[in-house]
């Protein structure tokens, strides 16, 4: 039975093509795996975590990790100054980090893409106005602006996320606008306009899909930036508030014990580093796979 044996080779689907280039970057694949494992751990935190992340235990304060003298089963990574199990706190903390990354990227990217599209299609004065406002936001060091915004809004995880989304958003505006300006002069856009496409259709259906590659790469970058910045705000006491098991807040709470109990400081930071590293590795792979300039074909 020979049904559809075509003689010309079919063009691989976009996804298959993407995967082909992404797979070539070994680091990116490792990053993807690590990221997937962390997501799984975060989702299953309730099931895997041996203890309640905020339950204190006065009889087991500052226990070292299992492999050191004095470590006690089942506190695999030891306990903090209040006797809370570090592994359980880390697993639950992973949820906050991913939650933060997703919310910040969605808020910053949605806002940034819409404003960037408007700037790209708007009359010149509006474009200039929008870009000046973005320049103004970018002249503040991001963490400082986020700190001040949190001071205005009040310290909490939500406000920290909102502040960081505002600070990261100009990057999306710039990228989207730049991409729109290159696409706008192309023939397919002109023909869509001639065919009578409305402005909204032109923006979101005709042009936007062709601007997505750099935005996706930026999304990966700001995902890791968001995790770092929220942890930094938590560390400064301006993010998630105790007893939330957020990684940066965990570091802040254990700072005074650094010279006595290395593990209370080491593990939360290591968790941040590994997560951010995995996402950045993926980001590099995404860039290689999506940036046509770098494609070797």
């Amino acid at each position: 039975m020979s049904d559809t044996v075509s003689t010309t080779p079919k063009r691989p689907s976009r996804l298959a093509e993407f995967w082909f280039y992404f797979r070539e970057n070994r680091g990116a694949v490792i990053g993807l795996w690590v990221f997937a494992i962390f997501v799984a751990l975060a989702v299953l935190a309730d099931v895997i975590a041996p203890f309640d992340p905020i339950a204190q235990n006065r009889d087991a304060t500052l226990l070292p990790p299992l492999w050191q003298d004095g470590g006690a089963w089942p506190h695999l990574l030891g306990t903090d100054p209040l006797g809370r199990d570090i592994l359980s706190r880390l697993l639950h903390g992973a949820r906050y980090s991913f939650f933060v990354g997703i919310v910040v990227v969605v808020v910053a990217a949605t806002g940034g893409i819409v404003i960037g599209l408007v700037a790209g299609f708007a009359p010149r004065w509006l474009d200039t106005l929008i870009m000046r406002i973005m320049d103004i936001i970018l002249s503040f060091p991001s963490l400082l602006l986020a700190l001040v915004l949190v001071a205005v809004l009040g310290p909490s995880l939500w406000n920290a996320m909102l502040a960081i989304a505002i600070v990261l958003q100009p990057h999306y505006v710039r990228l989207t606008r730049a991409a729109v300006l290159t696409e706008r002069s192309k023939d397919y856009v002109t023909s869509a306009r001639v065919a009578g496409a409305g402005r909204a259709r032109m923006m979101f259906i005709t042009v936007l899909p062709n601007c997505l590659a750099p935005i996706i790469v930026q999304a990966a970058l700001s995902f890791s930036n968001a995790i770092l910045d929220v942890a930094a705000l938590g560390f400064l006491g301006m993010g998630a508030q105790p007893p939330t098991p957020e990684w940066g807040t965990m570091l802040a709470e254990s700072r005074e014990f650094i010279l006595r109990a290395w593990w209370v400081v080491t593990f939360p930071g290591l968790a941040i580093l590994i997560t951010v590293l995995a996402i950045n590795l993926m980001g590099d792979g995404l860039r290689d796979a999506l940036d046509p300039k770098l494609k070797r074909s």
Binding site: D135, L144, G248
Partner: protein, 335 residues
């Protein structure tokens, strides 16, 4: 060149006004009555309240308030701190040299290590050394620097006892601040061991602050070098029989440095953001720690003025980088 200069200055002015507007809005956006917030006094009587209202100009229309604020800022009037009762302007410039000293040391460290690392990685593309250097750079780029600082303290201050944990110099030494730069002042003081102590205090904070810019510079240098190395004139230089060191070091590097210089200039904002964390951890008496402390003390005039001055500092550096860039690369000027 004059036209380029003017066009750059033209974009500077509206951005400056915008930045001033943000710091103006900040104190009015805080929860609570801005007059009570700004007075920083408790149990204000209605008479006193009205007096303050007039004193702060809140009885004026909002655009006049902003105009007064803007003209005040241009004359260096940024209000006085609630806590120290000193003008914000004076406090900023008293602390600024500490941040500048730390940032300069960090950026020098980042360039001295980052640029050669990027060149080596580019010339050994795909080899083991390239992979090792770039993996290290990616780790540095992903590093939560507040944690990195704590780790270095554990190892070098706690376990080895090589470096002090906080401050700019040992309390044993006391001398007048001529320049505000501890390295220079300690040398000028002529006291035995003062300079050594200042250097020891600088090492860990500089390493911490340099980490992220170093990684960025190394990555940028590598990719700029790779781009340049595939150009025709490099092939010509090689074909002429020039030594590889000369081709890489002179022909390629000079052109590859243009994007690298931009990255170095743009990392000023990153440095200042990093300085907030680094100074807080190492109790380094600079702008970053001052801002964080003021936020916690609710010393709002300081937060307002500091926010503005930091943004202006970043803008000025970016402007200078833009102008230098035009100077190095005539192609940019003509556009």
């Amino acid at each position: 060149m004059l036209r380029y200069l003017l066009s750059k200055l033209m974009t500077f002015v509206p951005t400056f006004i915008g930045v001033t507007l943000i710091s103006f809005v900040f104190i009015r956006a805080l929860p609570g009555d801005p007059i009570i917030v700004m007075a920083g006094e408790r149990g204000i009587t209605p008479e006193r309240y009205d007096e303050l209202r007039t004193q702060f100009g809140f009885d004026q229309p909002i655009y006049i308030q902003f105009w007064d604020y803007l003209t005040g800022v241009l004359q260096g009037d940024l209000g006085t701190s609630f806590v120290t009762k000193k003008p914000v302007w004076d406090e900023f410039f008293a602390l600024f040299p500490a941040t500048l000293e730390l940032s300069l040391c960090a950026i020098i460290l980042a360039v001295l290590i980052g640029v050669p690392a990027g060149i080596i990685a580019a010339t050994k593309r795909g080899k083991f050394l390239d992979r090792a250097l770039m993996s290290t750079a990616l780790i540095g780029y992903s590093m939560p620097i507040f944690w990195w600082a704590l780790l270095l303290i554990i190892v070098f201050s706690g376990n080895l006892g090589w470096t002090p944990v906080s401050g700019r110099i040992d309390l044993l030494y006391f001398f007048p601040a001529h320049t505000g730069f501890m390295l220079i002042d300690s040398l000028l003081s002529g006291q035995d061991g003062a300079f050594g102590s200042a250097v020891k205090h600088l090492i860990l904070p500089s390493i911490v602050l340099a980490t992220v810019p170093l990684a960025v510079i190394a990555r940028q240098t590598r990719s700029a070098m790779l781009e340049v190395l595939s150009e025709d004139y490099i092939r010509t230089a090689r074909a002429k029989g020039l030594a590889p060191a000369r081709v890489n070091g002179v022909h390629a590097l000079r052109n590859a440095m243009i994007p690298v210089v931009t990255v170095i200039g743009l990392s000023v904002g990153t440095l200042l953001a990093g300085a907030i964390l680094t100074e807080t951890i190492f109790s380094w008496p600079g702008i970053g720690k001052w801002m964080v402390d003021s936020i916690f003390r609710r010393d709002y005039p300081v937060v307002q003025g500091g926010l503005l001055l930091v943004a202006v500092a970043v803008m000025v550096v970016n402007l200078v980088v833009d102008l230098l860039y035009g100077l190095i690369n005539p192609k940019i000027r003509k556009r």
